[in-house]
Symmetry: C2
Subunit: 69 residues, 2 copies
């Protein structure tokens, strides 16, 4: 299925905030409890990520989940 | 797995906005392209809903996905 604009925006926001923090996909994955390849797939909007994973990534990026949308 | 606070908030926000629009779970499900029992489960935070489904529900509720978090 084609990724929604919301999914694409989520991936772009995560990448932007991760780079702002100066951390790698591996480091973000470690902090959020998911594999680094999964972070890459989320950033490229290849993964239809769940709300609980969004929660974990937001926490790892030290932002509100709302800030990822 | 225990629902995250973000998942709980999502469910509460969806229920609140759905009632504000004065539509049933069945009607919201119809508009968002998901089954009414799934809407019920999302509102009760029983479902770890995906970003694409959040996109569809936000559209059906005529709000931004950000407004659901």
């Amino acid at each position: 299925m084609k990724a929604t604009p919301t999914r694409k925006q989520l991936g772009e926001r995560i990448r932007k905030l991760r780079k702002k923090l100066g951390i790698s996909q591996e480091e973000l994955g470690f902090r959020a409890g998911v594999h680094r390849t999964y972070i890459g797939a989320i950033e490229r909007a290849e993964q239809n990520v769940s709300i609980d994973t969004i929660h974990g990534i937001a926490k790892a990026l030290k932002v509100s989940p709302k800030d990822l949308l």
